[in-house]
Amino acid sequence: MATTITKTETLVGKSIRRQEDPRLITGTATYVDDIKMPGMHHACILRSPHAAARIRSINVQPALALPGVVAVFTGADIGSVGPVPCGASLPGLRIPPHSILAKDRVYFVGHPVAVAVATDRYVAADALDLIEVEYDPTPAVADPEKALEPGAPAVHPEWTDNIAFTYHQEGGEPEKSFAEAEVVVKQRIISQRLIPTAMETRGVVADYHGAEKSLNLYSSTQIPHLMRTLVAQMLGLAENRLRVVTPEVGGGFGSKLNVYAEEALMGFVSMRIGKPVKWIESRRENFQCTIHGRGHVDYYEIAARRDGTVLGLRLKLIQDLGAYHQLLTPAIPTLSVLMMPGLYKFRNISADIIGVFTNCVPTDAYRGAGRPEATHGVERMMDLLAAELHMDPAELRLINFIGMDEFPYSTATGLSYDSGNYAEPLKKALDIVEYHKLRDQQKQAKAAGRLMGIGISTYGEICAFGPSPATPAGGWESATVKIEPSGKVTVMTGTSPHGQGEETTFAQIAADELGVALDDIMVVHGDTAVVQYGIGTFGSRATAVGGPALYYALQDLKKKIVKFGEVLLESDDVSFAAGQCICNRTGKTVSLAQVAGASYRAMKLPPNTEPGLVATHFWEPPNFAFPFGAHIVVSEVDRDTGQVRLVRYVAVDDCGNIINPLLVDGQVHGGVVQGLGQALYEQAVYDENGQLITGELMDYALPKATMVPWIESSHTVTPSPVNPLGVKGVGEAGTIGASPAIVNSVVDALSGLGVRHIDMPLTPERVWNLIQAGGAA
């Protein structure tokens, strides 16, 4: 239950209901599709029905003849518009040219081929039916392992092996560790393709002003400033004449951490027709054309001693890239490699990534982005090792954790873990579930013929992206704080919240620092014409990187407030607290509003001080932050139907200091349910011809309210030393912890049948077949 705040008190650490909610619960918020402009036209996009084909001809004349249609553009019309950008760089990376509309070939189902522009949305859709395209379909390949086989269809004819890149990383002496191991366990583990499915699909409104050569672009994105830089390049516009606005954004989960063809395409259309134009993605388009996540086939080997001490970890990672690179596509599996040691003292690591082109929509960052895959891998391997050694999986983890006296800890993959007490959340979770009692209950269940399982996952994650040298586009974040002449406070953040709640948490931080009421603060974001350059919201970075930027801007401002206070109070001994300056000698005070008014009137300025109360801070983090935690799942499998029922879900997460517990719980719940979706229900299915079988919400099993258990969420608190707030980030933690805990519990339930591994999603059919086969996969 939230507290309603009416007076200045310490707000950081309290469960405060959100500042952004009144507009959202009354239906008065403005999402992209809610924007209407005089003269606005509507665009619909014709997309390839084939996974691979040559385009023999396109005839747009019948569409142009339809009343209401003002233009149809194809790849032949787009001239010098630049390619959809790939922001990742790896040695030897093959980057296929990625035109905003197909030129002579299509490479995946949904590939944009033409755009119809009309005065009415329905007419634009009708026009698509009238565009005549002759295709010569060619063989396609949708499975990344099949794409690697000799003789497989080449996704891009110029690269017949379908390999976009290979990448090797190792640390320590992996060969030696495996040679000296007493036990080696191997497993092939799949992290299936997923469809991010933000409830709001993507959408763009473009509004070109020819006389000024300026373009306003309204887009549902997580990265307004980066989009501005990149789309300006694509369109050949001066960056300062492109304004990107992110109105309300209805969820992203990484799928809007991107620059897509449609942003530049709508800019191009508006420039050509001289009118505003709107494109709203349908759900089918969203499934076909917005990035997918995951898409790994992983081959793991773990080396250990008989006493359970882990020695080494090897990984061959086959990444399904899809047909193109979107913004970060090739970089995502490298994050898996960075985090493959998890929370354990693996000193010897070897990883090989093979990035494979397929005739599918590109994969890219989806909640967790490489880290859920890594955690699923190492946590499955720890359970496989425990089973091999007949050890308790909790005990195996406890003896291999990095010790709390070893921080900062340098990993074999080159990271420096900031702080941690990895045993604490596991011990707390074991206490909450009453682990030993549970194991007894499990024995009784087994005796009664029931299949009950207990699954543990202890995850670590890299977030708060991140130091700039480790990121493709800068890892800092920015904040501006303005105290207006009335004393009201405006915070402008370079992050781009879209549901996370920083309009509230950042107001909490500012309220405490300035001693003003929450309602006196307005947090502004997502408009490049208003807000200073920023990086955006992704990778659990908004509070952990944007928060410190705000904190330091506030410190700069407080110094200036004191200077003006000294002038007004005619004293050189003034301090600022609780929203007022006080003379420490006389006790006389002036309010923040008085100080602010005086600073703008500027009748008398302090020495070497500019008028006004504005401060901007760009904060460069010295390191990432590394949250961690332990999730325990109790499950029961129906022997007759293969149905998995989650009896308990216990999450103990450590995200450092907590600014708003209510919002952190919301992030954990939502994250867990997305991980649970992967574990039990979700899978993007392409058939052998590259047709997307799960092309609608009717075919893609998104968790519903009835499909998820009550989540028992609690925390341990290990502040991060990386930033002054001690925060670590929590957006992705739940997703990262969930899938291995669930799968480990189901494997545990079926272990009596000889089952040692199951790949996700754990559909009843898959589980039932395993039971029927007596555990043989």
Partner: protein, 156 residues
């Protein structure tokens, strides 16, 4: 070819010439100007477009505007009265029952109907009652809490 429809939306009369194929959600959003209900799937799965039609929750993406002729529509914009939030709206706010807010208008309309039919639902009944509305952000737990709070306040 168009047809004239006359209906009540949030207590006020509306009358327009519409194409017979126009969906009710498009009429509400683009003709009548009520952009609170959202379009999330176009296939009746997600429930973001949920409105009340003659008091019953319907998915307005799966109805034609002409089918609403002569009827009474309530959208999320009409739920608060005289500036006072509906108890379900207030409970969603208090319990952090929303994050990105896109599913929220439909979710609140569905929760409102659920409580009208069953003022004291169990957790299972709440989850079942909201099965036609998808949320990708919250994991549903805070939504369940919000419905519980609204039920408790109505019963108090």
């Amino acid at each position: 070819m168009t047809r004239k429809i006359t209906l009540t939306i949030n207590g006020k009369p509306f009358s327009h010439e519409v194409e017979p194929r126009m969906l009710l959600i498009h009429y509400l959003r683009e003709v009548a100007g009520f952009t609170g209900p959202h379009i999330g799937c176009e296939t009746s799965i997600c429930g973001a477009c949920t409105v009340a039609l003659d008091g019953k929750a319907v998915k307005s993406c799966t109805m034609f505007a002409v089918q609403a002729d002569g009827r009474d529509v309530l959208t999320i914009e009409g739920l608060a009265s005289n500036g006072d939030l509906h108890p379900v709206q207030e409970a969603f706010w208090n319990q952090h029952g929303l994050q990105c807010g896109f599913c929220t208008p439909g979710m609140i309309m569905a929760a409102r109907q659920l409580l009208e039919r069953n003022p004291h639902p169990t957790e299972d009944e709440i989850r079942h009652g909201l099965e036609g509305n998808l949320c990708r952000c919250t994991g549903y737990q805070h939504i369940v809490n919000a419905v519980k709070e609204a039920a408790a306040k109505a019963g108090a």
